[in-house]
């Protein structure tokens, strides 16, 4: 992904890596999945110890 900036002089707006491209959306979905997967495993663990 890497830097969206080549030179800091006069920079405004989004400065996070990948800004302006498609990768940030991919990371959003991966992060959502990363929240859901532990919940699924947690639910399975809860069933085993009910």
């Amino acid at each position: 992904m890497g830097s969206s900036i080549e030179n800091w002089d006069g920079v405004t707006g989004a400065i996070f890596m990948g800004a302006g491209g498609g990768m940030p959306a991919v990371w959003v979905w991966l992060a959502i999945a990363a929240c859901v997967v532990p919940l699924i495993f947690g639910a399975i663990a809860d069933r085993k110890t009910r």
């Binding site: 992904m1 830097s3 002089d9 400065i15 890596m17 800004a19 959003v28 991966l30 663990a45």
Partner: protein, 448 residues
């Protein structure tokens, strides 16, 4: 007409003067407030370490933690502040006479609204670094030996790392593009590996390891206290990370209308808010996923922040979440590796701070590659090799003095308490106070 223009000009000048005063006062207050927030980190470490101790050692652990704080602050006044300003390019030291302890700038000075609050914020960074180390060595270290080690770590070791890697003129930055916004390397990696160096000489607690090398869990007497302490550390780290930003609009500021990093690159508190919260969450969830243990979950919160600290100014928040989650997931396996080498780190300091500090530096070398490390044309850019070099430097700046000084203390009989005192407990043998004079017994509910 000319009189009206002159009057308006005078009014505008007065308003500009008033705005400048307001900016100065707000800037001074900004850094002043980071100081009590960072003291909350120490309240947190106090609770954390006392809870992680067995009841027979609880007050001794507290004393050690409080003394680290008390000794590192004056040591940083006498020595540390000068090292930071004099040594960004290594030796020979540059001119930093304003930071010498007898300088006029090092006391109440009207018209100087920055020296004291900057010094104060840095002094709390120093004390935090020493506190990171203090938990690893609970229940068997001698107080005086511990203070000597804490003072060196807090007033020298991390400060050299900061001069080299957390300063716009630092050679790691100018030559290798090293970027470490939230001090994952210069504070956490240095402190974690300093602790490792000491632990090798200090040895494990009695009963920690069996003859076959297997490890026994030595539980603390109050895990709720420990977990609450970890949450307080998280609160305090907001002050730490806030103090990593450079306020705008002053003579010493990087920008007139924007916060800057210590390196002079632009950022703002909004960027930090996004990434710190996402990192906290990712670290907790990652650790919960692997361990289901509340101690590791809260350690995961801290690990998440450390894993992303280097790039809190520029990370895309969902990516920060994922990196933090990976940090939280790494904790327990990393701690297990340490135990296989018979290293007894009572609170996971080497793992959370040392290992995850390195992880965080390298992560930024991958995901943040290409960011200019400084303002201007033709400057070094962030890269994986530069971050790795910085990590190695921080590891050595922590490990070598930790190992050498603790070895000298060990040879002088000043490192570890005697076996009898360790078995009886540090509180009954060394502390003139009793933590639980009535014991810890359950109370009966009121009868209906």
């Amino acid at each position: 007409m000319e009189e009206q223009i002159a009057a308006l000009t005078e009014q505008v000048a007065a308003l500009q003067g008033s705005a400048a005063v307001t900016n100065t006062m707000v800037a001074e207050m900004f850094y002043y407030l980071t100081i009590p927030l960072m003291i909350i980190i120490h309240a947190g470490f106090l609770a954390y370490e006392m809870g992680a101790s067995r009841a027979k050692n609880v007050l001794a652990s507290g004393i050690k933690n409080i003394l680290a704080f008390a000794y590192v602050l004056p040591a940083f006044f006498f020595v540390g502040w000068w090292i930071y300003w004099a040594m960004p390019t290594g030796l020979p030291a540059g001119d930093a006479s304003f930071a010498l302890p007898w300088s006029e700038s090092m006391g109440p000075f009207l018209g100087d609204n920055s020296s004291g609050v900057f010094w104060g914020a840095f002094a709390l960074f120093a004390a935090t670094t020493a506190s990171i180390f203090s938990g690893a060595v609970i229940e068997r270290i001698q107080t005086t030996g511990f203070i000597i080690l804490a003072v060196f770590l807090g007033a020298v070791a991390w400060v050299v790392a900061a001069a080299w890697g957390w300063h716009a003129d630092g050679w790691l930055v100018t030559n290798f593009g090293y970027h470490d916004f939230g001090a994952a390397g210069v504070v956490h990696t240095v402190a974690g590996f300093f602790a490792l160096g000491v632990l090798i000489n200090l040895g494990p607690r009695i009963g920690k390891f069996n003859a076959d090398g297997s490890a026994n869990h030595i539980g603390g007497h109050n895990m709720p206290f420990t977990i609450t302490g970890l949450m307080l550390i998280i609160v305090g780290f907001w002050g730490f990370l806030m103090a990593c930003a450079i306020f705008p609009g002053e003579g010493w500021s990087w920008f007139s209308n924007n916060f800057g990093t210590i390196y002079g690159t632009p950022t703002n508190l909004s960027a930090l808010a996004f990434n710190i919260l996402m990192a906290f969450s990712g670290g907790v969830i990652g650790a919960w996923f692997i361990t289901r243990d509340p101690f590791w979950m809260m350690s995961g919160a801290l690990a998440g922040i450390i894993a992303t600290a280097s790039g809190l100014d520029v990370y895309w928040p969902p990516l920060a979440f994922l990196i933090a989650m990976a940090g939280g997931m790494l904790l327990k396996p990393a701690a297990a590796v340490l135990e296989r080498f018979r290293i007894d780190d009572a609170v996971g300091a080497v793992t959370v701070h040392g290992t995850i500090g390195v992880f965080g530096l390298l992560m930024f070398g991958i995901w943040g590659a290409g960011y200019p490390a400084l303002q201007g044309e033709g400057v070094a850019t962030v890269n994986l090799l530069g971050q790795a070099i910085g990590a190695v430097v921080c590891i050595l700046l922590g490990f070598v003095p930790g190992y050498v000084i603790s070895l000298i203390l060990k040879m002088a009989g000043m490192l570890r308490i005697g076996e009898a005192a360790e078995l009886a407990g540090l509180d009954p043998t060394k502390v003139p106070a009793q933590a639980y004079p009535e014991g810890i017994t359950p109370s009966e509910p009121a009868s209906s």
